[in-house]
């Protein structure tokens, strides 16, 4: 999205309900700012994140997708983030293999106490994605120009 001549990427952040969504709330409670391009979708656990959702987001115009969950070992459901970690590792590696910029995807573990980390992560990730510009590659993958 272009705003006032400046590129504003659309960022979708999937946050697990127990740690990271609470961490995001905490950064709000502490009035720590991060860009408004970041929109959070609450999911019960990082393991609920289906790779389809990420691809769908990119398909519909997202420029970056980030998953935040409890730190490994601290999952509310004991093991969810361990599965998410493997799934995302392999998915990100595949996107990289297809030549999609690997800077568009990220996983960050944010606990309910890490409001500052949440805000910092979002600031950093948004800046990183903004540098890449609009996400074209996933759209173009199947149509040669």
């Amino acid at each position: 999205m272009q705003v006032n001549g400046e590129y504003k990427p659309t960022i979708v952040a999937f946050c697990c309900n127990w740690c990271s969504y609470a961490g995001a709330d905490l950064s709000g409670t502490n009035r720590l700012t991060y860009p408004d391009n970041v929109k959070i979708i609450r999911i019960p656990c990082s393991c609920r994140l289906n790779p389809m959702f990420i691809l769908r987001a990119f398909q519909r115009g997202a420029d970056g997708v980030i998953l935040c969950g409890c730190h490994p070992g601290d999952c509310h459901y004991t093991t969810g983030n361990y599965y998410a970690r493997r799934r995302m590792t392999l998915l990100f590696s595949m996107l990289d293999f297809l030549g999609i910029e690997r800077e568009r995807t990220r996983v960050e573990w944010v606990s309910a106490a890490e409001g500052a980390k949440f805000a910092a992560t979002m600031n950093e990730f948004t800046a990183q994605v903004a540098k890449l510009g609009e996400n074209k590659r996933l759209e173009d993958l199947r149509c040669k120009k």
């Binding site: 969504y21 019960p44 609920r48 093991t79 805000a119």
Partner: protein
């Protein structure tokens, strides 16, 4: 098509100052399916809730979107509101426009636009919501208390008092915790043992309370109302049912040089020991690290002197399995190691001690039988220097804790006062940054130390302690007179910061209870739910949640008990209806979901299906036990065919949110 009502909350100025709430309500009114849209100052207030209920009736709403604070705050409130108006509570979605919008953005136009998008996502989701009915699961009417200090004991006594069974798991051979090591308590100066030991005995004698001493929690499975806990009873090499606690073995054991942890290593005990005279249970324990018999197979003296025949060198750790409805964490605290603060020369001189060590040096059951003597040469000290905030209030220096340990100001005043009272010939200095005494009769207590007992309070810190020629040369600052002062002290007492017990971190992992960055357990709400963990069925008692003195600990312990009783009093718990559900028509029966389910909630059965041309087909399909499923969703992603979906967070719902956000 749903008939959706949108309610935009101002939250006073919390939202309205940054988000144009009128514009949000107007814009969202144009979304498909929205038949009513409004805004109000406080949606969570009585009037706000009534407004929602009235709209449900008037506009025959089938779905409600509330743009307000975090769903973690008021989702429950609004669900109840709607349920009372006859709408299924799961037809409510919250758009978080406070914590995740108005509070983080400054620009009104940006924040308003984002609020609209978040509202749209919630509307898109509600379109796909379906009424859900919560099932129920039974409650095991028994509680587990982890940690047998004053917090754990108080919680257990209160629960038992109400008539429920409660078990205490304590890792040490006796219950009692840190309070057993304390001499006197502030601000009344009554003897800690005199008020604690009767409670320990009460706990031991209460038929509803079972104490697992010298035991640790090995694993925790299950969920609120239905925890399955494995407890490791560590081998103490003494048969608990036979030992009478006579103590003969502890006087005959030839291994005399075992550092006595009860006196913080300032004297020795035997390899077989009872921690102290009032220990509960009063049963001997063999320390396997020091016992000659266990190490070399030669000795066996304790076995010979034991008239009860209780010694059992073959004893092994035992695993006990128990079911509980609620778990209370009461793991307490420990003083930090002062090793990183060696400018105070703790490692160089035995006369530099921590406050807890000082407590033992003043205690009648301590290594000096209650006479204050310098550890180095057992002489009477004349000049004592107390240093406050050793490792507390350190920020970013990498060696201490950022928080105030809360109890040090008061116990240091107590130590200084007791010292001056018992030994009027002493000079007592206290170096402080601030003296913090909020609490009933606390500041009066501190002032008494200064005014009546003549304790020298100096605003400043100690920079260096140099042991030389039998003295401790203390170099310090006096900020009020802007001087550097030098004191030749006989003893230096360090008020070490306190930190959560080391066992808390692995326990939190087992319980999936969250912790803050300092390893204190987090409460469900810092103000309104201070004794509950965010994980249902886990409760917090005492210093495991944050630094606390004894009265506060006991108050919180009873509060935790009250919360436990509220849970145990229920026969059934309403389950979370947002659970996984397979579409049998699409299920392959491949077991992928079963492999990732942390709760064993998924089972398989062969079912008959109609095939083509009036044939029947038998297929293996998954089914989910909704009382066991906790709704994490791991299975939904493992399922290749997409047969498994999660109610309330379905594939379609999440994708609708994605679409609304990315549009």
């Amino acid at each position: 098509m749903q008939r959706i009502g949108v309610f935009v909350c101002w939250c006073g100025s919390n939202i309205a100052a940054t988000v144009d709430v009128h514009k949000v309500a107007e814009t969202l009114a144009k979304e498909p399916g929205v038949v009513f849209s409004t805004n109000y100052q406080y949606m969570c207030s009585q009037a706000g809730q009534e407004m929602i209920q009235e709209a449900i009736h008037t506009h025959k709403l089938t779905g409600v979107v509330i743009c307000s604070c975090s769903p973690r705050m008021h989702e429950g409130t609004f669900r109840k509101t709607c349920a009372a108006a006859g709408l299924n509570p799961y037809m409510v979605e919250i758009a978080n426009i406070r914590e995740q919008c108005s509070w983080i953005h400054k620009d009104m136009a940006e924040a308003t636009e984002k609020a609209v998008i978040l509202g749209r996502a919630a509307i898109a989701k509600v379109h796909l919501n379906a009424p859900l009915t919560a099932g129920t699961s039974p409650v095991t009417k028994r509680a587990l208390v982890i940690g047998g200090g004053i917090a754990g004991i108080q919680t257990a006594l209160d629960i038992a008092d109400a008539g429920y069974e409660v078990d205490i798991v304590e890792k040490k051979p006796t219950i009692g915790g840190k309070m057993t090591q304390i001499d006197k308590t502030f601000p009344t100066l009554d003897c800690a043992a005199c008020i604690l030991t009767p409670k320990m005995v009460d706990a031991a004698q209460n038929e509803k309370i079972h104490i697992y001493s010298y035991s640790e929690v090995e694993s925790v499975k299950g969920f609120v109302g239905n925890f399955h806990v494995t407890i490791r009873k560590k081998a103490r090499f003494v048969d608990e049912t036979k030992c009478t606690g006579c103590g003969d073995c502890t006087t005959k054991c030839p291994q005399k040089n075992v550092p006595n942890e009860f006196n913080l290593g300032m004297d020795n005990r035997r390899a077989i020991y009872i921690p102290f005279a009032q220990a509960v249970p009063k049963i001997a324990t063999i320390d396997a690290d020091y016992c000659t018999m266990l190490k070399t197979g030669k000795c066996g003296i304790c076995s010979k002197v034991c008239a009860a025949g209780a010694i059992d060198y073959q004893q092994k750790d035992q695993l006990v399995e128990e079911e509980y409805g609620a778990i209370v964490v009461a793991t307490g605290f420990d003083p930090i190691s002062v090793e990183k603060f060696d400018e105070y020369a703790y490692s160089q001189s035995p006369d530099v001690v921590t406050s807890l060590e000082f407590e033992r040096l003043m205690n009648a059951a301590g290594p000096t039988n209650g006479t204050l003597l310098r550890p180095s040469d057992k002489t009477h000290p004349h000049t004592l220097v107390f240093v406050q905030c050793v490792g507390s209030r350190c920020d970013g220096d990498g060696r201490g804790k950022s928080y105030c340990s809360k109890i040090c100001c008061m116990y240091t005043a107590k130590h200084a006062m007791l010292c001056r009272e018992k030994y009027p010939d002493t000079d007592v200095y206290v170096f402080y940054i601030d003296v913090r005494t909020p609490g009933k009769n606390f500041d009066e207590f501190y002032r008494r130390a200064v005014e009546e007992y003549g304790v020298h309070y100096i605003k400043g810190q100690v920079g260096k302690v140099v042991p030389e020629n039998g003295k401790l040369k203390v170099q310090a600052s006096d900020l009020l007179s802007n001087e550097q002062i030098h004191i030749d002290a006989d003893m230096v007492i360090l008020a070490a910061a306190i930190e959560p017990d080391k066992s808390a971190r692995p326990l939190a992992t087992m319980l999936t209870a969250s912790m803050d960055t300092n390893d204190f357990f987090t409460e469900a709400h810092p103000k309104l739910r201070p004794v509950e963990s965010p994980t249902a069925g886990i409760f917090l008692s005492g210093a495991c949640q944050g630094p606390k003195d004894i009265p506060e600990t006991v108050a919180q312990a009873s509060a935790a008990a009250a919360k436990v009783l509220g849970l145990l009093a229920k026969d059934n718990l309403t389950c979370n209806p947002c659970v996984a559900q397979p579409d049998e028509m699409m299920c392959n029966g491949c077991s992928s979901c079963e492999k990732v389910c942390p709760y064993g909630a998924i089972t398989y059965s062969d079912k008959e299906f109609r095939g083509p041309n009036r044939t029947t087909l038998i297929r293996r399909v998954a089914s989910v036990n909704p009382a066991v499923c906790q709704g994490c969703g791991a299975c939904t992603v493992a399922c290749p065919s997409g047969a498994m979906d999660l109610k309330g967070f379905s594939n379609k719902q999440i994708m609708a949110e994605v679409d609304a956000i990315c549009k």
